[in-house]
Symmetry: C2
Subunit: 356 residues, 2 copies
Amino acid sequence: MIETNPNEIVIVKSETSKIGSVDFDNLIFGRVFTDHMFVCDYEDGKWQTPQIMPYQAMTIEPSARVFHYGQAVFEGMKAYKDDDGRIFLFRPDQNFNRINKSAARLAIPEFRKDFFFEGLEKLLKLDSDWIKPGVGNSMYIRPFVIATEPAISASPAMSYRFMIILSPAKAYYNEPVRVLFAEKYSRSADGGVGFAKAAGNYAAQFYPTSLAQKKGFQQIIWTDANTHEYLEEAGTMNIFFRVNDTLITAPNNDRILDGVTRKSVISLAKDLGIECEVRRVSVKEIKAAAIDGSLKEIFGAGTAAVISPVSAFEHAEEVYELEQLDNSYASLFKEKLMNIQHNISEDPHGWRYEVK
Amino acid sequence: MIETNPNEIVIVKSETSKIGSVDFDNLIFGRVFTDHMFVCDYEDGKWQTPQIMPYQAMTIEPSARVFHYGQAVFEGMKAYKDDDGRIFLFRPDQNFNRINKSAARLAIPEFRKDFFFEGLEKLLKLDSDWIKPGVGNSMYIRPFVIATEPAISASPAMSYRFMIILSPAKAYYNEPVRVLFAEKYSRSADGGVGFAKAAGNYAAQFYPTSLAQKKGFQQIIWTDANTHEYLEEAGTMNIFFRVNDTLITAPNNDRILDGVTRKSVISLAKDLGIECEVRRVSVKEIKAAAIDGSLKEIFGAGTAAVISPVSAFEHAEEVYELEQLDNSYASLFKEKLMNIQHNISEDPHGWRYEVK
């Protein structure tokens, strides 16, 4: 069934739905995708007519540049449904702006804002049944761009594919995580691509993370590559430290992702009268605070995990356990954020964006 | 036509050949591929039966991890044909070892040596007509591995595809190149993946290189990310400096690729009685040598380009032009290397590997 709409997006609907075969109570993150996907190709110097089509495998040349040179960027977003069946996004302008900032750093042409929003909204409405109401349920949205030109010279491609795929999700991490402060490996360099959601930033973390996991730590808190003295981010999350009642998080720079959840936490802290210092955070200071008892919490903030409390950290072969508080900032921010996201509370900053 | 051979590789030959449509005198690097390709999938914890099949587009899920997290590594090699029609590789063991070193850093399972060599040799023999004799002609060989598992969790994939594709080539750079010494952007961090042929390392260079190109420089010589004071490599080439009659090149470390052409140049220099210092090279020293006239040459060394002379460099908005010498080290090493590669000269180090 093919529809062409006045806004140029061609829609080819799936004849059948897979939704009946999905166990929504036992979703593993990022494995199940909805019935449709959004696809838009860049050819001849411009983004061509976008399509929404049945979710399916695609045909691509082995010489496509993405396979050889990692010319690819992505975003992570979520949609939420309230009890009235209304669908909301959370600060989607931030993700749109960031994917284009990432794209520019990777020499990928910027995507069109009208195509992004129209495509995403039509896609969400078409697969609306897949978005389950209830706090904790969400639709994980993965926009991404890949270089498709079939030529292996090491230079920016002339053709690209922009896609959006949707994966229904429960909370990403359920348990507090144990983390390791990086001492040897690094995530990114000054003057590099750490601030971008560049595909290659992620695979580079897999091996060091696997070593951490063998030692019983789920995540690494990356430190600056030069000295390993300053705590930066967790690779899939930004990171916050609570010392006494003050929050501390690292400033953005060209190594650290400008996280949407991070900046929302900073705003919420201000609303709540919680002091939040955005400054360099040293390993030394956090260890000292852990020893003298002033370190109350560490938590990660990111779209997939929302807020992810840390129960322990390791550095220089010493493990520091953190007591889990009943009235933690982590649970406070998580509740505040999720209530805004799910249209349960007021939204003083205008972060909700209804998909109509 | 399907053949199964005793060494497990399944061969499906192409019914027709594209070779008649190829203009071998006007090849653009990396755009034309031969009639066949080698494919081997990793599933259920092991590399499955490899196949050689007609070169063709492949079907892959949009959620394949390579698209999202850049979990991919590659190699660059060449095959040469002498006037008797014999086919040679150049130090292929180095490439095999390096792709597995790269794979390990990206949490990709190591490939099997028997599959690599049998697959590559059978593929080259099947597409032997595509390898043209004559110095300067070669078959560029691109082995690569991509993460294919259709799931977007940020962790190592459970399934991969190892491929080899072949592209007939002329010399990669024909003219001396003008280069810019990096002052702001960086290629890799200490503790990162710069030493690996990780896909993401390459796309990260495209944007800074495009800025250099707008200023009239084809390549960037990357400097250390911490201080930008030491010259490291050129992204697709290692780099050598000739000061008076001494060669200088940076030592390998976790930021710099362990280049096969680089180490071959170091060996040849020893054979020829040319002093070669493998040590840190500062921007300051090279600028001083350019000013006092002791800087005689700069050249890149890599598989695609073999030896690529540099005619000028820029740093801090100053351009330093280099006189092109008649009897340059660059042309000496290029001739020595190509004569070994094409079976024209003796091969005292046993670098040639005949494909029989």
